[in-house]
Symmetry: C2
Subunit: 378 residues, 2 copies
Amino acid sequence: MQLPLKGVTILEFCQYLSGPVAGLRLADFGARVIKIEQPVKGDSCRQLAIKNFWLDESSLLFHTINRNKESVAVNLKNSDDITFIKKLILKADVILHNFRPGVMEKWGLDYASVKKINPGIVYTEISGYGKKGPWKNKPGQDLLTQSISGLTNSSGNNNDYPIPFGLAIGDYLCGNQAVQAILAALIRRHKTGQGSLLELSLLESLLDFQFEFFTTYFQTNQQPKRSEFNNGHSLLSAPYGIYKTLDSYIAVAMMPLEKLNKVLQNKELEKYNESETFKKRDEIKSVLAKCFLTADTNTWLQKMHEHDLWVMPVLNWEELIQTSTYQRLNMEQEFVVGNKKIKTTRCPIRINKQYFLSTIPAPKLGEHTEKLKKELEK
Amino acid sequence: MQLPLKGVTILEFCQYLSGPVAGLRLADFGARVIKIEQPVKGDSCRQLAIKNFWLDESSLLFHTINRNKESVAVNLKNSDDITFIKKLILKADVILHNFRPGVMEKWGLDYASVKKINPGIVYTEISGYGKKGPWKNKPGQDLLTQSISGLTNSSGNNNDYPIPFGLAIGDYLCGNQAVQAILAALIRRHKTGQGSLLELSLLESLLDFQFEFFTTYFQTNQQPKRSEFNNGHSLLSAPYGIYKTLDSYIAVAMMPLEKLNKVLQNKELEKYNESETFKKRDEIKSVLAKCFLTADTNTWLQKMHEHDLWVMPVLNWEELIQTSTYQRLNMEQEFVVGNKKIKTTRCPIRINKQYFLSTIPAPKLGEHTEKLKKELEK
């Protein structure tokens, strides 16, 4: 199968997560992704180990999100290197960078300058908080943008600390939306012949993600409030949440109380009617919490699934991997670093029943510099 | 500015969030998005109120994610209506559906059938857990897919309950990735003339999102473990997390302990060296927690920013909206329902300094049925 982005070249002037996650998706889709890195250190993510896990001179995390790419190491203060990069820009379709505002300008690689070299370029900028305002030079780091965005008031219960989402959600969302923007701009270029400047930030991605909170807040002027118990979503009624059972936990989504009580047969629950499930959700949830403790998860699942209620077990990673559903998804793939096989997850999208797989590991810093210089001489 | 997807027609056979969120982005990008709904009830999201907030006969949530679309109401058991839909399919570029496996088949609108009508169609399927396995007919609801995916073991602290992400992350991610898939397939169709079948699921999107957890787990066979205190990310070392101060909270990202202690000047912290920040993160974090309680957030921010440390305040929605950074992002836009102005957030992407804005509200159920029938007669 011909990959969608065959023939498209991306120059990735990126570090850490947001930009490289976008580059990875584009590489999986068939683009040629060339990382432009500074000599000696390169992308700072090479030195960012999660759980202190290293594969070679770079971390496991770096390898995971930079597989299937090439690397060019250049000193952008050196005029020969700048000339080389400008030749590369002439051949490229997309530039993607996630430096703080001012950095690409310093190197003469801002959009206005690059556009003169290649007017059709799709120039993509990822910042932390946008390019204006008092925070523009603050680190656009995931936890910090989460904390600014209000998001830390949505998980956990009402009396808890602010609880961040336990993964780099700002980076991941913004990277994914950069892919959308780039693909849309490539379609637009095909129709109009015009390049474009694309601007995204972690903060804007996190605000879009919270569209439910903001839209509700704009209409009501009341801040969404987490429920006291078993909070699943600040804006949803009881029973929505995760409950402890006799042996583990059960996830309970939306369902009419009356239908739920056909299974639970709980006298206390009978007192509440459907119109009170938002206002009195804490009372109702505390009744439910006591009730779910009286039997084990499998018993509840069986009884509740018989009534077509929306419940599922709560699994950890080990339990999930043993399920036949997980195994049928073929979610795993391998790449090789040195003589070591590394297992990772694949792109979540399938096209014509095929997965986007690649065994090409992340490049060593500057691994393709000479090769690319020779290519440009041709 | 010509919008990227001008001239592209999407048929959205969708309900609730995942599909409509994708449709909304495509509509913002300039596509014509036509919702195909069942008569009487339509998209079930019309009846899903968040915080019991309604705008007309449909909820605020429905309006928020279905603005800028058209609606056709058809009874897919009726042969005239099926004929009408097949004529629409002939004119369409993309079909997007998020029904459980088997539903589109029942109506004769599965990929094999649709491809015969329009071989160039980009046919996109969103499921909960993939199309095989014992869960294939279980509700592909956000909280339930989160709970299956292992994700509820990542936010909060180690001794907490499983804590779900307090927003519909599975729906939102999968919708965003459906947009990527559709745009990539449109590019591929332009090059090869071929349509395609795209398959995604909430579960696969949630697994991709957890690539760090899974890749680390595959190499170590150890499950990532949340820290005991102030967890920010299971795989990261101290000090990463949110800390209580004298008056509020502060978000503290990655930084060398020694550099941090230049500000804190804490005797106990001196005992730890950088190589212990993962292994002894709970000890270190409990020392830090005591220390951050001794001054207010602004004092810490000022001192720590002077040393270029990665810290930011923790805001709620009201506080965020008052910042000049938020105001400069122009994140808000309005649409009109009846004679009521409704404020919502805009698409997080900017192209050539322009935002993707639209004042067109969500359609009434079947609002465009007759108009589209007439269009097809031409």
